[in-house]
C-alpha cells in the first residue's frame, strides 16, 4: 500500500505522495452596481485563480505535519484534493498508494477527516449513537464498534457526556467527539483542518493532548492545518508553509526555529532612562524611558554588546527571549508575498 520514495539515496516509506499538484478555479468577475450586474449577465468576464501551483511533497508514516499558510494560500484546497473532495487539474496524489481521484471510496476507509468549520455529527443524537452510525458507514461489525467506543471512552475521557445529545455539548466536547468519530475506523492518515478553531485555551490544550495520544497509540499520520501557532508548535515536528498556492517552506520545526531564531527580544527595566536609537543589528521596538524593548540581530550584534549599550549597572531587570514562532511564520508569509 505504501509508496517507496527514493530521496537522496535513502528509501523511505511515504504514506502521502504529492507530485506537481495544481488546481485552478474559474471565478466570474462582476463590476460594482446594477450596471455591473447587467454587464456580467450579457458579457461575463472570468478570472482564473491558481489556487494550488505545482506543489510536491511526501509525508511518512506516523509523521505529524503542519500544513499551514495565510487565508487563501491553497492549504484547504490541497487537503480537499488529498481527501478526494476536489479533483486536481494536474499532478499526482497517492495516499497509502491510493489515488483519491479514482479510488475515493477505498481511500475513505483508510483516512479520517475533521473539518473544524464543518460538523459531521448528528446534533440530536448522542456521541454514542453517532459513533455507532459512523461504524455503520465504515461497515464495521456492531461488536467491534462497541469495543472501540469503550476504548475511546477510556482513552479520551468521554464518559461524562457519551450519552448526552451532541447539541447539548460544549464546543470543546463536540470537537473532541468529532475527532473521536473520525477515528472509529482506525484511519491510517488523519486530516485535521483547523480542529481548534473557536475553542478556549484549556479546551485547545485538551484537543492537542488527544491528538498527541492518538498519534502515539495508533501511529496515525496527521496532517494538520491551523492558524493557531501553539497547535503547530506543540504537535508537529515538520512544517509545510504554503502561500499563494506554492510551498514556500518545507522543513522540520527544529530547523525552522534554528534558522529564523537569529533575532532575540531584549526587554529591560532601567534605573535611569536611556535614549537608544536604531542602529545596525538593533531595532528599538518600545522605549518608555525606564522600560525598553529591542530586537537584536545576533548575526550583526552580540547580546553582550547590546547589553553594554544599556550599561549593565543601570539594569534593574532583564528578559531575553526568542522571537515568537507566530512572528516567524508571519514573516515567512510576508516574504512569500513580496516575492
Amino acid at each position: 500500500m505504501k509508496t517507496k520514495i527514493r530521496k537522496k539515496g535513502v528509501i523511505s516509506l511515504a504514506v502521502i505522495t504529492v507530485e506537481h499538484l495544481s488546481k485552478n478555479f474559474k471565478v466570474k468577475l462582476k463590476e460594482k452596481g446594477l450596471k455591473g450586474s447587467i454587464k456580467s449577465i450579457i458579457k461575463p468576464n472570468y478570472k482564473i485563480i491558481k489556487a494550488v501551483k505545482d506543489i510536491s511533497f511526501n509525508i511518512e508514516k506516523g509523521e505529524m505535519v503542519a500544513f499551514i499558510g495565510p487565508n487563501g494560500a491553497g492549504k484547504s484546497t490541497s487537503i480537499k484534493m488529498m481527501t478526494g473532495i476536489l479533483y486536481p487539474d494536474k499532478g499526482e496524489i497517492r495516499i497509502l498508494g491510493l489515488d483519491p481521484k479514482t479510488q475515493r471510496k477505498k481511500l475513505a476507509y483508510e483516512i479520517g477527516c475533521v473539518f473544524g468549520q464543518k460538523e459531521q455529527l448528528w446534533t440530536h443524537l448522542t456521541p454514542y449513537d453517532n459513533f455507532k452510525f459512523f461504524g455503520a458507514i465504515y461497515d464495521l461489525p456492531s461488536s467491534h464498534v462497541e469495543k472501540k467506543i469503550q476504548e475511546f471512552i477510556e482513552l479520551f475521557e468521554l464518559e461524562d457526556f457519551i450519552n448526552t445529545p451532541v447539541r447539548n455539548l460544549s464546543l470543546g466536547q463536540r470537537i473532541r467527539c468529532e475527532i473521536v468519530a473520525s477515528l472509529i475506523h482506525e484511519p491510517k492518515v488523519l486530516f485535521l483542518d483547523e480542529p481548534t478553531i473557536g475553542l478556549d485555551p484549556v479546551v485547545k490544550e485538551n484537543i492537542r493532548v488527544l491528538i498527541k495520544r492518538m498519534n502515539k497509540e495508533y501511529k496515525t499520520t496527521v496532517v494538520l492545518t491551523s492558524h493557531d501557532v501553539s497547535d503547530i508548535e506543540k504537535l508537529c515536528k515538520r512544517v509545510i508553509i504554503v502561500n499563494k498556492g506554492q510551498i514556500v517552506l518545507d522543513d522540520s520545526m527544529e530547523n525552522l526555529k534554528y534558522h529564523y531564531l537569529n533575532k532575540k527580544i531584549v526587554e529591560a527595566k532601567m534605573k535611569e532612562a536611556v535614549n537608544l536609537e536604531d542602529q545596525e543589528g538593533i531595532t528599538i521596538l518600545k522605549d518608555k524611558g525606564y522600560n525598553l524593548k529591542m530586537e537584536v540581530d545576533i548575526k550583526k550584534k552580540s547580546i553582550a554588546d547590546a547589553i553594554k549599550l544599556l550599561n549593565p549597572d543601570n539594569i534593574v531587570d532583564i528578559n531575553i527571549s526568542n522571537i515568537p514562532l507566530e512572528q516567524i511564520i508571519s514573516s515567512i508569509y510576508k516574504d512569500g508575498e513580496q516575492e
Partner: protein, 264 residues
C-alpha cells in the same frame, strides 16, 4: 458487489431512521405536520366535488379516478420528499460546499446526501394516498400496484430533481429552474390526462414525465397491461441512470467552499 449494496442499504436506512428520530423530538409538531398535510390535500378535492356535480367526466376521468390520481400524486410526492428530501435541496448543497461531508465517507455520495433528512409532513401525503386508494377500491392487486407505482413515481420525481439540481455543477445557482420543474411535476400531476394535448402531452412523456408517474399508473389500475407496466419500469430505470450519470459527471467539477456549516 452484493455486500456493498447491502452495506449501502444499511447506512441509508440508518440515516433515514436517525433523520426521522430528529423530527420526532417535538411530538406536537411531528403529528400536526402529518395531519395538516392530509387536510391540505383534502381541501383540493372540494373543487373536484363541485365540478363533478356538474359533469360525469372530466378529461376522460371519472370522479373516483380523480381521487386515485390525487392518491398517486400524493403517494409519489410523499415517497420522494420523505425518503429523498435532500434531492430538493441538492442545488444549494452543491453551491454551498456541503457535499464535502459525504465525499469523505466510503459510501455513495448521492444516496448519502439525498437521504440525510426527511420531510415529516410527507407521511401525511403517503397516508392520504392510501386513503384515496381505499375510496377508489381496495383489492390486493390494486394495493400492490399502487405501492409499486408510488415507489417508481417517487424514484422518477427524485431523479428529475437530481438531474436539474446537478446542473449547478455547470451553471451555479439553478435553484429557481430546479424548483420550477419540481413544482410543475407536482402541480400538473393532479389534472386528468385528457385535458392535455399536443406538445404539452409530449413533454409529459419525456422531460417532465408526469405521464409515466401518474397517468400510466391510473390506466394500469383500471386495465392492467404488461407492456405498459414494463415501460414504467424501463423509464424509471432510465431516469435513475441519467440522474446518477449527470451527478457523478458534475461531481468532477465540484468546487466545495469554505462556508461554515453544521449538520442539524
Amino acid at each position: 458487489m452484493l455486500t456493498e449494496v447491502k452495506n449501502q442499504w444499511k447506512v441509508t436506512m440508518l440515516s433515514i431512521k436517525y433523520a426521522l428520530q430528529r423530527e420526532m423530538l417535538n411530538k406536537v409538531t411531528f403529528f400536526s405536520n402529518i395531519i395538516f398535510m392530509m387536510l391540505n390535500n383534502a381541501c383540493f378535492i372540494v373543487q373536484w366535488i363541485i365540478l363533478y356535480s356538474l359533469k360525469n367526466e372530466v378529461g376522460g376521468y371519472s370522479f373516483k379516478q380523480i381521487l386515485l390520481l390525487w392518491g398517486i400524486a400524493a403517494g409519489t410526492f410523499g415517497v420522494s420528499h420523505f425518503f429523498f428530501k435532500e434531492s430538493y435541496e441538492l442545488s444549494e448543497t452543491i453551491n454551498t460546499g456541503k457535499l464535502d461531508a459525504f465525499l469523505i465517507q466510503p459510501k455513495n455520495v448521492l444516496l448519502s446526501c439525498i437521504t440525510s433528512s426527511v420531510e415529516v409532513s410527507c407521511i401525511g401525503d403517503m397516508i392520504y394516498g392510501w386513503i384515496m386508494l381505499f375510496i377508489y377500491g381496495f383489492t390486493l392487486k390494486n394495493a400492490l400496484l399502487f405501492a409499486f407505482f408510488c415507489i417508481t413515481g417517487g424514484f422518477i420525481l427524485t431523479s428529475v430533481a437530481v438531474i436539474f439540481a446537478s446542473l449547478s455543477f455547470w451553471f451555479g445557482r439553478v435553484e429557481i429552474v430546479a424548483n420550477t420543474i419540481n413544482s410543475l411535476m407536482t402541480n400538473f400531476a393532479t389534472y386528468p390526462e385528457g385535458i392535455f394535448k399536443g406538445f404539452v402531452k409530449i413533454l409529459f412523456y419525456t422531460i417532465l414525465p408526469i405521464g409515466i408517474v401518474n397517468f400510466l399508473p391510473i390506466q394500469l389500475l383500471k386495465d392492467f397491461n404488461f407492456s405498459t407496466f414494463l415501460i414504467i419500469i424501463g423509464v424509471t430505470i432510465l431516469f435513475i441512470a441519467v440522474a446518477f450519470f449527470l451527478f457523478y459527471k458534475g461531481l468532477k467539477r465540484y468546487s466545495s467552499s469554505n462556508l461554515m456549516n453544521v449538520r442539524v
